[in-house]
Amino acid sequence: MSQETFIQTHNDLWNLLNEQIRFLATKKRNTPEPMRLDEFPYLFRQACHHLALAKDRHYSSQLIHRLNELALQGHAILYRKRILWPQRFLVFVFIDFPSKLRENSGMFFLAAALLFVPMGIMLYAVNASPDLVYSVLDESQVRDFDAMYSKESKSLGRIRDSASDFQMFGHYIYNNISIAFRVFAAGMLLGVGSMFFLVLNGVVMGAVVGFVIYSGNQERILSFVVGHSAFELLAIAISGCAGLMLGWSIINPGSVSRIDALKSAANNAMTLVYGVFVMLLIAAFIEAFWSSISMQDNTIKYIVGGSLWLILALYFSFSGRGYRGYHGH
């Protein structure tokens, strides 16, 4: 069959398919639908067949280019994903996120160890020998921390007394979530980057708490952090876990290629990163609007803080057990 005859025979089909693609691609629909939806895959397969024929019969580049573009657009429409967001979100919160963490519990405990062990060591060390705090922080930062938790400051955890709750909320969002994203991304550097950030965060936090305890203000700092500590510390550990997963997939891809192992690990890690993001939003909220409230008797703060730790521990251990998540595994 000559090219001209070929074009004349099938031109109508290609134009119809083109119209249908345009119709499906736009959200605003003023015109009626060119064809029934169940006809679309059939016509698309035909167009692909015509493309293969055109190549095989060495038809001209212009025709092949036209059919290639048509097939690419149809391919994009046919294989795109559509997600129902509210349902998706609930499934994520109650099933996907905790299950994914349980699947990678080994990495998580490693990340948690890299965060908490240096924290504990530094806390003890600085409490015993306070000059050690200057090995991780400079003078002005130490002064700031001292001022935040000293008996003279009117509000807990604020650098300037006049800083409003909402301003601190914005600051925590900007600061903490960016840090968590970096901790995760640094996992690409064979996991070493994430390890470094976890240890660094642990050491700095341990030093600060140790120093404030040494200064005698332990009541003020502990009542401040206990509220949001569960969400924030676990979120940093989980984001470190996600980074380690990335790095590990490159080092030990198992029986697949490194690229495929990385893609699969990144996919899994993203579930954890979404969860980290939500946890840090909650932590910022608590830190800005609850933790800084000065109370006569801090017992209720400790009760709330302790309960949050318990709730999160139960959530990650048990939520979604036995259910199939969004993707059925």
Binding site: Q3, E4, H49, S61, S164, I173, A185
Partner: protein
């Protein structure tokens, strides 16, 4: 072959071609996006601080959202194109040709933090130049590629001419060459067209001036406009 074409095997059993976008185009698109982000943040920073502590808080949140989620929003919800990419005519797709969705956009944008190290996207550039599909580290992890929305078309319409059958027997490759030549005549200068066709004067056994019409006649015949 040294080109920027990526082939995709589809379930329909046909091979599709996508044109990959190189580092330079992507860098220009990124610069445009960077400028837009700075512009947005600057305009908010102009008036929000007037609202005191509350304004500062809102500014910090807006800063965070714009900085981290600009790319993710546009790539996931606007057909893989940020404004900068749209200006350069490129878009992000998965490496099987399907449109990119939230998890892909999220992964590749978060990993920008690593691509930017140690300075000015060096790791990203090295990664792009090290694999066949110009993927930076974020693309490798997310399984995405950046392609041109419309691949370059070097073929125009064949000029209409009275068709007549080739005097000699042409193999399929030679027929393709004649048709391709005819399609490109509208894109090349007249002198160049004449120069290319004149090479065949001894084979076609005509005067040099007659070569172009001869070849166009053959092209019309081969394509079937008889």
């Amino acid at each position: 072959m040294l080109d920027n074409i990526k082939t995709i095997q589809t379930p329909e059993g046909v091979t599709l071609h996508l044109s990959l976008a190189g580092p330079v185009t992507r860098f220009i698109a990124w610069s445009i996006d960077f400028g837009i982000k700075i512009g947005i943040l600057f305009s908010f920073a102009m008036f929000l601080p007037l609202f005191g502590g509350f304004g500062q808080g809102v500014l910090a949140i807006i800063f965070f959202i714009v900085w981290e989620f600009y790319g993710i929003y546009y790539e996931a919800r606007r057909g893989g194109m940020t404004p900068g990419k749209k200006a350069m005519g490129i878009k992000v797709v998965y490496d099987n040709g399907t449109p990119v969705d939230l998890s892909g956009a999220f992964a590749r944008n978060l990993l920008r933090a690593v691509d930017m190290l140690p300075f000015c996207y060096s790791f990203g550039l090295i990664a792009m130049l090290s694999n066949k599909s110009y993927k930076r580290l974020g693309d490798l992890a997310a399984g995405t590629i950046v392609v041109y929305c419309q691949s370059a078309n070097v073929a125009g319409q064949i000029p209409v001419m009275a068709a007549h059958a080739p005097a000699l027997l042409l193999t399929p490759d030679e027929q393709c060459a004649v048709v391709d030549f005819a399609e490109r005549t509208s894109l090349l200068s007249q002198e160049r067209v004449f120069e290319i066709a004149a090479v065949l004067a001894p084979v076609l056994k005509v005067e040099e001036q007659q070569c172009v019409p001869q070849l166009l006649g053959y092209a019309n015949w081969i394509v079937g406009k008889r």
